[in-house]
Symmetry: C2
Subunit: 328 residues, 2 copies
């Protein structure tokens, strides 16, 4: 196998022209059922495979679908993203190549690389997680180059084709629940980019934002640990906590338990996202479900709709629910 067989020599071997071979593969051009069958069989038998790059270059389209997401955790799996990917994957037609590319806010090269993928024609459609500067840059690039795209989350760039989730409302549910179950001293452990959660939490609890104890965290178990220690040592009165995501909640619960705090008796905790582990944790974690997979599914469908020409300019908001389990 010194060199790949090209269409010409293959066509010759079969006894047809290159054009006919091309037609046999592309569903388009008119060709007799019989010749097509003959060519396909011969290709199978002789091991002919059209070159991906040549095919794309010749047809001046093609290219894969990319999922761009901000790399928040550099050193840990991103469970949030994973759930969304599952949803997207289950929707997209499997004959399309699907790539997932992180863009790091702090790494110029990564974001440049993501942009380049669109600019050089390798990516012909995109799903983009919004909320960062990098994302904004990619969205406006997608608009400029006129490729089909859908944004997950809010977009300031008056993007069409948006699948959004309502963090603030979800947090309101959490706040309300804590108030109704007679908790008195709320705390909020923040992650990245989620001011709306705090706002909703305060509203639901019926207080102003400034009355909520906020502990700044970030993505990762360890921030939950730190928050638990902070509360144990300096904010004993705290009796309920909303965590910006389930991973933080797990870290919090774990450390709190080690310190002798009882969950949910002493402190009720609610997480965010409802990743797979949440309901399998001990205690099972109460959480605001963003229905991440549905989010992925919607995004995928919205993209397919654009491919199909039905370029309906719509924005969708996936509902979110409070799921009460054992940690509250």
């Amino acid at each position: 196998m010194s060199r790949r067989m090209d269409i010409k020599t293959f066509a010759e071997a079969v006894g047809v022209s290159a054009a006919t071979v091309s037609r046999a593969f592309g569903g388009a051009g008119r060709i007799s059922v019989e010749t097509r069958k003959r060519i396909l069989a011969a290709a199978e038998q002789m091991g002919y495979h059209a070159s991906f790059h040549a095919r794309n270059l010749g047809s001046r389209r093609g290219g894969s679908i990319a999922f761009f997401y901000p790399e928040l955790y550099t050193d840990e799996p991103d469970y949030f993203i994973n759930e969304i990917v599952i949803g997207i994957n289950s929707t997209l037609k499997h004959d399309r190549l699907f790539t997932v590319t992180p863009f790091d806010e702090d790494d110029e090269r990564l974001i440049a690389n993501a942009r380049e993928q669109i600019l050089d024609g390798r990516v012909s459609a995109a799903i983009i997680i919004s909320g960062t500067v990098g994302a904004a840059s990619l969205i406006s690039l997608a608009q400029k180059t006129r490729i089909p795209y859908v944004v997950i989350g809010k977009s300031t760039l008056n993007a069409t084709n948006t699948v959004d989730y309502d963090n603030e409302y979800g947090a309101t549910l959490a706040g309300r629940y804590f108030r109704e179950t007679n908790r008195k001293h709320p705390a909020y452990i923040s992650g990245h980019l989620d001011r709306p959660k705090k706002r909703g939490f305060a509203a639901g609890f019926g207080v102003s934002e400034s009355e909520i104890l906020e502990i700044r965290g970030g993505a990762g178990f360890k921030y939950g640990y730190q928050a638990a220690e902070m509360i144990y040592h300096h904010h004993k009165e705290t009796d309920c906590v909303l965590c910006a995501n389930d991973i933080i909640a797990i870290g919090f619960i774990k450390r709190a338990a080690e310190l002798g705090l009882k969950i949910p008796e002493n402190i009720g905790v609610i997480g965010f996202d409802d990743i797979a582990i949440a309901k399998n944790y001990m205690p099972a974690i109460s959480t605001v479900s963003l229905h991440l997979r549905d989010l992925g599914v919607s995004a995928g469908e919205m993209l397919e709709a654009q491919f199909a020409g039905r370029n309906i300019i719509q924005n969708e908001v996936v509902r979110c629910d409070l799921i009460i389990r054992e940690s509250t």
Copy 2:
């Protein structure tokens, strides 16, 4: 932006030939520092980007690095794979496109799609998780097409460039530990493709394989649940369990606790893989660490070595350790 600018019109605008422009980008050809700088600046300013497909076609190389893995969980994140991906990603040079593609053993189309990616030249190097028929097919394809590749796991195809992990030894450690801590009635909850684990477990415990109660499971929390119920109802004497992966262990512990079994007092449980959640679970899960990230790192390095021409034909075995935490 009706159409992308091509190299010819760009070259004209800058006042050089297309060939010179090409040289300015490719690090190769000899070109004066000055012209290169001028061209690069102009490209930046005019927004010229070479077409990915044309570039690859012209240079008769290119293509991305693919990570092929068997899709075991169709409906859940695969934590095992995620950890490996993190390792690979941290190693690979970021200017190479890295795609991750599942091939499903039960879905002809998915595996055909994976093969096609290699055959049509889109993928020019691969990292393949071994252990399934699909994997074997991909490995032999990689060999036939002579692309650089590395296999993670054991390969029957006398593959070179293998990064292996020693499941059997890890399980031996687990068996031995249970014996030394005076457990008497071992059970093994299997996942996929891991007969060696059972063998090692029996050896470590000092009994024959047939003396180990085996409960057939699979990937996913629910198999852990089912196993716990099975043991609770039909195998009361069981006092220690090795689970084929951490997810199963979590499911097992969760359900066992619900049934009133105390972990580790009544039953000691050891998981496999040491995924991120293992040490953050309550109780923290004792597990056989496969050092998944190191595995990914090694695989990435081995591939880079092949690119660099140092095609050292070597096989590596990443050590594995038993990590004792709270579930034993």
